[in-house]
Symmetry: C2
Subunit: 470 residues, 2 copies
């Protein structure tokens, strides 16, 4: 399916990539750790997206930073694209080898190197997944909060500046990476920062690499912030007459300084979908799901304050609990979102969008988007990380219908431009990848040229995940 | 005084600056808005630091972004250094014209452009000071928390990645700048990001500019995060038998998830100094001062929890209050720190250091530093933003004593290297400026070369605040 591919790759066309030379050298260097088999190559491409898979020419299974360094050096010598590969869950075609080249599989770099409980920090290799990390940390009383849904690798989450449901309280990867070790395109290994909690020591290369989608170097170590597991977790749920009432309640909640940990919006189409799929009886109205973290009394106070606020916006059926089983029941509507949507049209292609706008514009942006879908006979339930102004239209389309694909493409473009017009962004958490290169230019204009200058200077041969972002 | 100047400016020596040409052109362009008078030039250099003032050749008083753009374009045409100037409170010689050139005074760019209460954001010009901003915001119920002590300009705070006493709760400028408008070295004006709360749209140029100390461009607009003014503010104070007991109590407090807003440590020398200066009777023991923000009940709970924790570390005399006058009394020891230290040796030069280490190493770093001072007959009371692992030795030395200057230089170098050995940084919040260029290399090694690549690519003529950071 070719929805969305915005492959204006002009800046990469002048490179004289020598992939064959690199493949030969990697074979000699890595033996069994290097594969050119079809099935392996097919697993190392973008398979979870609407982007057509584009296979690499070979896959290195790295098991150490030295392996990464050797691979980068060989690829740099020959001029061969190199694409870091973690859990494979990215959504914007980041893992496609659209210029051919080498996929470097980071899954064997899966050690948790050092936990520093007193500092609330941990150093991990990039192949560690977030579930693996939190399982490992359980006995320390600490946890790593960022939760993009999928059991992504920490390396991939860093590379895409991931976030998810609890960013409203804990921030995104940008806020939770303290330092990185990176193999730069010339093969040099650098550390971007010390392990101090804050620093004014020179340019913030940590945050230049966070969100660079593998285009500036390969991450080999990540130092993360951790948080104490809350004494108490409370869950809440209520319905609102309109999306505007729901978002206004969220705005008041944030202004009142209630440190809500998650606050998710489901639109009417989404509520209907989960009612069907999960056999629930939720009123067919916009729904907010909340989570509160803190001490027992603070969680109670937070939910009471929220309840008061929500009444001002005509909320109905507010329920809350701190019992774990009841919490899961209350949140079932959210947990089943993906499957509930898929079940609406099992044969359809699922497209996840992720625009993000200032929260004052959120209800307008959502309502205009729903109207746009209705006008164009498109179907896409909406779920939103509403505390951040970020929402996902989960568009279901028939990839075999040329007409539907065209209509969808028009809708996606209008959605991105709508968010940009409202001073928002075309991507709140998935990244630019192959799909949003034109939107990035629409959003930031000449700023993108300065990104290109940096890319060209740090990666003069264009070997690091070419054709993504820029 | 020449303590500290680390002017290895090799990378800037090859530039053929043409300052005279630029001065002539600026005179024609700006008339009365441009000055070459001695007294004006003397005010536009680093005067609050140990670095010898180095005067610019002229000063442009910009009153709009167009003025800034014109100035940068002229300086770029002729190849003339340009140094942005805000409140003049920087501590590392950032405002010195060590290659000559033009100071651009940003104080007339002092408009608060747009407040968005629903989004908890504000857009300001760089000359707005933090006190001006908070006075303006008072009626909205919102405030901007970052407080470096001085009434600095928001532009300067952004450029140095400033923080201060409440970073432990609200983060640093890195965490609170959403987007920037910047005049780049070629005169182009860019916007680094949308106003959305989070984004994965390309390289994080916002955070590349935050902390770049005027070396990559001139900031002309800043979009900031705001916070609800807390319903209740509580203050607390207690003494500990040792620095280690105090820092261990802080570690436990953070791990327990108590969202303390400020947590400041005064060492014994500092306590003695404020006892003398402010006529207090504090026990001559390490002192912690705390501030709690939240609802009435949450502030009460936080201070009770902290009191429990502090008892485990043999704290004494815990007092707390939420009455504003009593709060000020309790915190008087902290408010008077600077004057109390100065009064210890009125004729001496005051040097403020700012290393930052992982909090697990903080007591060791402080105690080794005190021992070092004692061995070398140096005097420097210590105050620390202890929740961040950041502390200031306030060294008092006689600038006329060559011997004392040499001993102090040795001490400062050992202090920086001690922090670096403990996986910390030579600068937690003041920046690199002229004073810490060698320490930056000691801290990050080859990483600094990649900073230089970025600098050279974005500013090929080396006009933006040359001789700072790199």
């Amino acid at each position: 399916m070719t929805v969305l591919n915005q492959n204006d790759n002009a800046m990469f066309k002048d490179y004289n990539y020598n992939i064959f030379g690199a493949v030969d050298a990697l074979k000699k260097e890595f033996g069994q750790q290097f594969s050119i088999s079809n099935s392996v190559r097919e697993q190392h491409t973008s398979t979870t997206t609407v982007h057509q898979p584009e296979l690499p020419d070979g896959v290195v299974f790295a098991s150490s930073k030295e392996d990464v360094q050797k691979t980068v050096k060989i690829c740099n010598d020959f001029g061969c694209p190199i694409i870091p590969f973690g859990a494979g869950s990215s959504l914007e075609g980041h893992l496609n080898a659209n210029f051919g080249g080498i996929s470097i599989d980071m899954n064997n770099l899966n050690k948790i190197i050092e936990v520093h409980p007193e500092d609330s920090t941990v150093i991990v290799q990039p192949g560690v997944t977030r579930e693996q990390l939190n399982t490992y940390l359980r006995d320390t009383g600490l946890f790593f909060p960022i939760d993009p849904g999928a059991n992504a690798s920490i390396g991939g989450m860093t590379a895409t500046r991931a976030s998810g449901t609890n960013a409203v309280r804990y921030g995104t990867m940008k806020d939770n990476v303290i330092s990185l070790e990176v193999v730069m395109p010339n093969g040099e290994i650098i550390k971007t920062a010390s392990r101090a909690k804050k620093s004014s020591a020179g340019y913030d290369l940590t945050r230049l690499i966070v969100g660079s989608e593998g285009t500036l170097g390969v991450i080999t170590e990540i130092t993360l912030k951790l948080y104490g597991i809350p004494e108490e977790i409370g869950a809440g749920r209520c319905t609102f007459p309109s999306v505007k009432d729901a978002t206004d309640a969220v705005i008041m909640t944030i202004q009142a300084g209630i440190p809500v940990a998650r606050i998710e919006l489901l639109d009417v189409a989404q509520v209907k979908a989960v009612n069907n799929y999960s056999k629930l009886n939720l009123p067919e109205s916009p729904l907010l799901l909340l989570e509160f973290h803190g001490s027992k009394s603070s969680v109670k106070e937070q939910s009471e304050l929220f309840n008061e606020i929500s009444k001002d916006f005509d909320a109905d059926n507010f329920e809350w609990t701190s019992n774990i089983e009841e919490r899961n029941k209350l949140w079932k509507a959210r947990h089943d979102v993906y499957y509930a949507v898929k079940a609406c049209r099992p044969e359809a292609e699922y497209i996840a969008t992720d625009v993000c706008v200032p929260i004052s514009r959120l209800s307008e942006c959502i309502m205009d988007t729903i109207e746009d879908m209705e006008k164009n006979s498109l179907f896409g339930p909406i779920v939103g990380h509403v505390g951040d102004g970020n929402f996902h239209v989960q568009l279901l389309i028939d990839p075999k219908s040329q007409k539907e694909v065209e209509v969808a493409n028009g809708f996606l473009e209008r959605l991105a431009h709508r968010a940009i017009r409202m001073d928002g962004t075309c991507t709140g958490e998935h990244g630019v990848g192959q799909g949003k290169k034109q939107y990035l230019i629409d959003e930031l204009g000449p700023t993108v040229n300065f990104m290109k200058l940096i890319k060209n200077e740090l990666d003069p041969k264009g070997i690091m995940n070419p054709g993504k972002i820029l």
